[in-house]
Amino acid sequence: MAFINFLKPKNQLEEGGRTAALIQRDEGEPEKKCPNCHKDIPLSRLWANRLVCPCGYHFRMKARQRIQMLADKGSFQELYAEMKAGNPLNFPGYKEKVENVRAATGEKEGVVCGTMKIGKQECCLFAMEPYFMMGSMGSVVGEKITLLFEYAAQNRMPVIGFAVSGGARMQEGLLSLMQMAKTSAAVKRHSDAGLLYIAVLTDPTTGGVTASFAMEADIILAEPAATVGFAGARVIEQTTRKSLPKGFQKSEFVLEHGFIDAIVARTNQRKFLAELLKMHNGG
């Protein structure tokens, strides 16, 4: 069901992307295979369409690419950029792993935070980084998100958060687990101050992040066909020895069960978010 929806363009941008994809391309241009429609899509075309395949498949996107896609030009100002994780449990191999990921991604940690404007609307933003240990939440991710909500509460600003996470980061053990309680308390304070929080769940949003700030927003959006759930599908299959229903834990499934407000294609997000911010900002 979910994938059939992709066939129909939902907006002009998608439509434009589809027509554009048919244009003859240069010989030898690098391309990427879409895991959904199995077509080879020229990279330039993908970039122009915000990493969305003409078939509607949303490729994984880096945190800074999202920010670039959303923010009014030059409006993003990063916060807490210098914050790095230690190895609080002296977990063997963790230090090396993080160092490798840092070198590969150019990111210091699994979330990028800051302030920016979308369609002239000011907001705080966090975007989790899928290429940094799959956006897993350790002390730094928890601390940065908590600081951002505290900053937003103090400055009476809305928060937009892009979630992507495999869950709590096990190499920081209980400290990771406690970040769930910590971030939740910060979200609650921000919420009690009457301020808006919009979460956008992207593929995949699971585990301790689903069980904390991802599911605590006033408005919860998701990208099409994103995996959104608490337990991993394989674990559920092994535990219950039952085959999973079709589209299980996909955003369309979660929408159907009443846990998200709307599915918004990436090509439409900037407009959508700007409008939501405006409507909560006195029109």
Partner: protein
């Protein structure tokens, strides 16, 4: 006496250990059970209601694993569905309304991993508990009596005080799960258990819990009496705290905040 962490895990999972209901029965008087989440169903893995502690009404909530095979099936082995967490939250809100403190006994390998649990928002249920508990206006004390399995345990332990029995364990992931992710080999659980720092001493050193309860006389009258006395004393202190919610915020706020700058890689 120093046991290796994985031995602790096995003890914590042990069949002969007192379960949630034993604590309710022996520490409190006149327990009246309240059922259901008022949304969907009554989760048998979570037992809750009101009782008296040193004469005063309190709300008591326990995750119950059951002991016999039949009980364990009925209690779903202490793995709660979203309804269990929603029942717990309903009872906590009720406690807040009537000014009763809340005491939780936690013993779970984790929130249930199942199709229905996902369909009815397991993640959302836990998240809501964490959020709502952070501003609950009455004292909340949680005691980990056996397994403290990840988010499913934390959803009843975002509290003013968290205590652990000497051989209870508290972890972000089961040692088996950790081993199978890191080394694709669940048999390396013993190594994982040591690395996860999941014992009561570890949790105390990490600033995650306040107190370790001795198990020397576990299951005996003196054991329950001692816990009852400690709870009474602690609740007296918490009840007089005018900044209860602020301090609860700080309790979690500081965790992980210090490791960030101190130990740069």
């Amino acid at each position: 006496m120093s046991l290796i962490p994985y031995t602790r895990v096995k003890i914590a999972r042990g069949n002969e250990r007192p379960t949630g209901i034993d604590y309710i029965k022996h520490i409190f008087k006149g327990f009246i059970e309240f059922h259901g989440d008022r949304r969907y169903s009554d989760d048998h893995a979570v037992v809750g209601g009101i009782a008296r502690l040193a004469g005063n009404p309190v709300t008591v909530i326990a995750i119950e694993k059951g002991r016999t095979a039949k009980e364990r099936t009925y209690r779903n082995f202490g793995a709660a569905h979203p309804e269990g967490y929603r029942k717990a939250l309903r009872l906590m809100k009720q406690a807040e309304k009537f000014g009763r403190p809340v005491i939780c006994f936690v013993d779970t390998s984790g929130a249930y991993c199942g199709i229905g649990a996902e369909e009815r928002g397991q993640g959302q249920a836990i998240a809501e508990n964490l959020m709502e508990m952070s501003t609950l206006c009455v004292p909340v004390i949680s005691i980990l009596i056996g397994e403290g399995g990840s988010g499913g345990a934390l959803a009843l332990a975002a509290s003013d005080r968290v205590w652990m029995l000497q051989n209870a364990v508290y972890s972000v992931i089961s040692p088996e799960g950790c081993a199978s992710i890191l080394w694709k080999d669940a048999a390396k659980a013993e190594t994982a258990a040591a690395r996860l720092k999941l014992t009561a001493e570890d949790a105390k050193n990490l600033g995650v819990i306040e107190r370790i309860l001795s198990e020397n006389d576990i299951g005996k009258k003196e054991f329950y009496d001692r816990i009852g006395t400690l709870l009474t004393e602690e609740l007296n202190e918490l009840s007089n705290d005018l900044d209860l919610v602020g301090k609860r915020y700080e309790r979690f706020r500081r965790i992980g905040a210090d490791v960030v700058d101190k130990e740069q890689l």
